[in-house]
């Protein structure tokens, strides 16, 4: 494997992502997952004789949104095309896609690599429709056409990716972007976000590209990296053993972690692309594009930058808060609700240190069940001193499980902090009376015992005493004793 260092991998990714439209791309059937087989169908997606497609502009909007976010030029005029092939999950015998003039071309996405930021160029993003699904049971095959005609975008990168980890980083950044925009749910396991990888290897410094193999069936993030790693190794081995990589399509087998040949170049389909005569060219007006532009949500990378510069958060905190769109929105809601009373850094800490770890402990709770407004009530209670920080954590846990508001929990469990001087004075007096000897030692210079008395006071109040006050009043008592006034 030492020789591997003299090789370089060249990788291009083709990503298919389903669009979160209400209806299918070319008919009014619902675009949903998990319905009874063949219930979300109509003459158009069943390819009955005489049925005609109608462009779903919601799908176009989402595709344009994604393209804008990926810095891809929007083509004012694009064409739909037919990609012809026979398969039982493809009722028309052709897929409506875009070929010669896609809706957008020439973009890029920046990714984080070990060597810093890297720009991956994107060749094109185009709109197409998905096929149905085949379900094999025993030696019978069944066709479910609920998915047939649901909208997809295909995003094709240039071969700018040079390792499996870069491929994973690109995919992660792409997915994050699409999910953030509400364009895709990014679910690889359910197949709504899929990836094919074109992989080739060449000796470092060689300007020519090696012969590529297309690796299909990479249906989870974990496997993308593994499949590509395997394929790179395999191709290097072929070259080192004097062989030649052949142009072919290979299937990834996740159980054995290998890729297997599926079909060679000579078996490659001739898709006989031609312009879809049932649909006019897709013309996008400047108004439409600027409307979509205005509806773009702030992307994670931009958000991170803003959190650091505007809110003075650390890179790490900004990263944690923007990883999930819901969390970022929650944080921003919190800031809005707060209106400047509690410091933003503190709000961030409450989410990162308390809320997220509580949610993590409760598996399956991805988003906060507590309204930002209610969470802020709790934060304010702690920060203003009406309960202490530890009590605050208890209250949060209670809020998450009972869905009660902070005020209710504090009241019901009588958790309000004892902060009034008189009350605390009395408790400290009690503690001193009960521990005369220790107090004498404290006075005579055994400073360690200060903590002992604070502890006693907290014990007596079941932790509700305001620690700051306890410190102050105990200190005052010591001073008073020393000056002989007591």
């Amino acid at each position: 494997m030492n020789n591997n260092d003299s090789f370089e991998a060249v990788i291009g990714l083709e990503v298919h992502s389903q669009l979160l439209t209400k209806t299918k791309m070319f008919c009014p059937c619902p675009n949903v997952f998990g319905m009874e087989p063949n219930t979300a169908v109509c003459p158009v997606c069943l390819a009955l004789p005489g049925a005609l497609p109608v462009i779903n502009f919601e799908g176009v909007k989402l595709a344009v949104k994604a393209a804008l976010a990926l810095n891809i030029d929007i083509n004012r005029k694009s064409l739909f095309a037919r990609k012809n092939y026979f398969y039982p999950d493809l009722p028309k015998g052709y897929q409506i896609s875009q070929y010669l003039d896609p809706v957008s071309s020439n973009g890029y996405l920046n990714i984080q690599t070990g060597g810093g930021e890297k720009k991956i160029r994107i060749n094109r993003l185009h709109i197409e429709e998905d096929a149905g699904k085949l379900i094999h049971i025993g030696n019978q095959s069944y066709v479910d056409l609920n998915r047939a005609g649901t909208p997809l975008v295909e995003i094709v990168s240039e071969p700018d990716i040079n390792s499996a980890s870069e491929a994973a980083a690109y995919l992660k950044a792409l997915r994050e972007t699409l999910v953030y925009l509400g364009v895709s749910d990014g679910n690889m396991e359910e197949g709504s976000f899929r990836c094919d990888a074109n992989v080739s290897v060449r000796r470092k410094g060689d300007p020519r590209l090696g012969t590529r193999a297309e690796v299909k069936n990479v249906n989870s993030f974990k496997f993308v990296e593994k499949a590509i790693e395997y394929e790179i190794e395999r191709q290097i081995d072929v070259v080192l053993s004097g062989g030649k990589v052949i142009q072919e399509t290979r299937l990834y087998d996740s159980k054995e972690n290998i890729t297997r040949p599926m079909r060679g170049k000579e078996d490659a389909h001739d898709y006989r692309y031609f312009e879809e005569p049932d649909l006019p060219p897709l013309i996008l007006s400047e108004e439409f594009i600027s409307e979509v532009k205005n509806s773009l949500t702030e992307l994670p990378a931009v958000k991170r930058g803003r959190y650091v510069s505007e809110y003075k958060l650390t890179e790490y905190d900004a990263e944690v808060l923007t990883q999930d769109k819901d969390i970022a929105h929650y944080f921003e809601d919190l800031i809005k609700e707060n209106g400047g009373r509690v410091g933003i850094k503190k709000l961030a800490n409450w989410i990162i240190n308390e809320l997220l770890s509580e949610l993590k402990a409760r598996e399956g709770e991805g988003r906060s069940p507590i309204k930002a407004q209610d969470f802020l009530e709790l934060i304010t209670a702690v920060e203003s001193g009406s309960i202490n920080r530890n009590t605050g954590k208890t209250v949060l846990a209670e809020m998450l499980s009972s869905r009660k508001k902070a005020g209710e929990v504090i009241k019901e469990k009588n958790l309000a902090q004892v902060s009034d001087d008189k009350g605390i004075e009395e408790i400290i007096k009690q503690a001193i009376d009960e521990n005369r000897k220790e107090f004498a030692d404290l006075i005579s210079g055994k400073d360690k015992l200060f903590g002992f008395f604070v502890g006693e006071a907290m014990k007596k109040t079941k932790g509700k005493a305001n620690p700051k006050k306890v410190n102050e009043i105990l200190q005052k008592n010591i001073e008073n004793y020393k000056s002989g006034r007591s």
């Binding site: 390819a47 049925a51 005609l52 109608v54 006989r272 692309y273 005569p277 049932d278």
Partner: protein, 506 residues
């Protein structure tokens, strides 16, 4: 009452409006005529008289309730078996759709139902509308009512024959390269193919999507205008329909007056009088030319230089689109599926596809699928499909230039009158040339109309005649002008009123 079937839609609508007859009377006249005559003509693939009676009774109720009703109310019509009608068999004259019952209505039929029409039955056609003689039907051969040994033309041959033989008041067909106009010419009826995009294609079985357009076959020009008005217009289910202004075609035609001919520039394209044209047809068209001149029109010689490539370009574009449009007939979801001789299902997917399509499609359909598949193949696309599309653009421009100089264009619809059954089946190319004058109109997305303007002698039948069709072409979306000019010519020629012209073989 027996003669009701011989009247035009305009005449029948008048009788209904004046409450002089009932729709059911009209229907009974047609049922009688069909029972007597259609066994000889074979225009229909099937009739549905039960449905027809229900439709007629419903129409009579609407008429009896007083107030206005749309012009096709209570009028018995036939429909080419390429339009889907909910709950009715639609085969496109193909074995591959042998058992196909449509679960939805085409937009045209939906509109006809809203007009309270009476559905008489489905008419025969060339399988998937591929042909010019209706001989390519998987089910039967339709005969020309003027000579039962001759073809009615195609692909809407059943529709044209049903109108010519008074087996319906009017018929809806489709025209991809001449499939309404050419059979109309051969059967002596009016055939109108409107501008591409004026009538919705939703629910019409697709042959060539960029060329297909529904059209009407009628007894006279007024009826064509009435029928067009009933079904024209934008449809959100067909994105190739346009938001044209749907005009009151029938009203416009009614007002058409000879004075309109004064100064009208009528173009005569030199290419439409080429060597393949039957000289007798040529002289009939010359008579019309002289007539128009007499009425004050300016006759202008023009050239459409690139239309000589029409047939070649058409057979690449139409077959390419067809090869893709017909992929859905795969034996998987509906229609015909091949079974092994034992009656068992095929065991391999590939075998199921191959056998179902091999035994389900007829020869002409297979020929065109193969042609189109070849034309779109990698390495050939540029030489064929792309080049044909460029030729199409040139033809569009030819017409645009011509319509800068003239208001309408006239010429023959078909180079020959109706030919004998079997005459051209062995030579597809000579069959393809039947549409030599009509094809360029589809390529240019323009409206075209064929109307009978006289007859020529039938060489194989003593005292027999065969109709001659005049084709009129107008600029894009100018159906009003097209129909008006046709109406003025009709009033002069009086084809229907002339017993010497109307000499049917039945």
């Amino acid at each position: 009452m027996d003669d009701l079937c011989r009247l035009t839609i305009g005449e029948l609508a008048g009788l209904l409006t004046r409450r002089e007859v009932k729709s059911i009377d009209i229907l009974n006249s047609y049922i009688k005529r069909i029972k007597e005559t259609d066994p000889k003509v074979s225009a229909y693939l099937y009739n549905d008289f039960e449905e027809a009676v229900r439709n007629a009774e419903a129409a009579d109720k609407i008429i009896a309730s007083g107030g206005g009703f749309p012009p096709l109310t209570g009028i018995p019509l036939s429909i080419k078996d390429i339009f889907l009608i909910k709950g009715k068999k639609t085969t496109c004259a193909s074995k591959i759709l042998d058992n196909f019952i449509s679960p939805y209505d085409s937009t045209v039929v939906k509109k006809l139902k809203e007009n309270h029409y009476v559905f008489l039955g489905k008419t025969n056609l060339d399988e998937f509308a591929m042909g010019s003689s209706t001989e390519n039907s998987a089910y039967k051969i339709t005969k020309n009512p003027y000579d039962l040994n001759r073809v009615p033309g195609g692909s809407s041959g059943g529709s044209a024959a049903s109108v010519a033989a008074d087996l319906c008041a009017g018929s809806f067909g489709t025209d991809t390269g001449g499939s309404v106009r050419q059979p109309a010419a051969l059967c002596g009826v009016v055939g109108l193919k409107p501008t591409y995009g004026l009538i919705s294609r939703y629910g019409i079985i697709a042959f060539s999507s960029s060329l297909d357009q529904a059209g009407v076959l009628s007894k006279d020009v007024t009826d064509a205008a009435i029928m067009l008005g009933a079904v024209a217009g934008f449809d959100e289910k067909d994105q190739t329909t346009r938001r044209f202004e749907v005009k009151d075609y029938a009203g416009i035609v009614k007002k058409a007056d000879k004075s309109l001919m004064k100064g009208l520039r009528v173009g005569i394209p030199v290419e439409f009088f080429s060597e393949g044209l039957d000289p007798e047809i040529g002289s009939k068209i010359s008579e019309i030319k002289a007539l128009l001149k007499e009425l004050g029109a300016d006759i202008v010689g023009i050239s459409l230089p690139d239309t000589k490539y029409s047939v070649a370009a058409y057979y690449i574009i139409a077959t390419s689109e067809a090869s893709s449009n017909l992929e859905r007939y795969d034996g998987i979801r509906y229609g015909y599926r091949y079974k092994e001789e034992s009656g068992n299902e095929m065991q391999s997917l590939d075998g199921l596809y191959r056998k179902s399509r091999e035994t389900g499609f007829g020869n002409e359909v297979k020929r065109r699928i193969i042609l189109g598949t070849f034309a779109l193949s990698a390495g050939y696309y540029d030489a064929y499909y792309k080049k044909a599309s460029s030729v199409r653009k040139l033809i569009v421009k030819n017409y645009k230039d011509a319509f800068g100089k003239v208001d309408v264009i006239i010429g023959p619809t078909s180079p020959t009158p109706a030919f004998l059954i079997g005459e051209k089946t062995a030579d597809p190319l000579s069959m393809y040339l039947s549409d030599i004058y009509t094809i360029s109109v589809n390529l240019a997305y323009l409206p075209g109309l064929s109307m009978p303007v006289g007859t020529v002698k039938n060489p194989s039948k003593q005292n027999g005649v065969l109709p001659v069709g005049l084709q009129i072409i107008s600029p894009w979306a100018a159906e009003d002008r097209l129909l008006s000019v046709a109406k003025i010519i009709e009033d002069e020629v009086k084809f229907r009123e002339n017993a010497g012209f109307r000499k049917l073989d039945i």
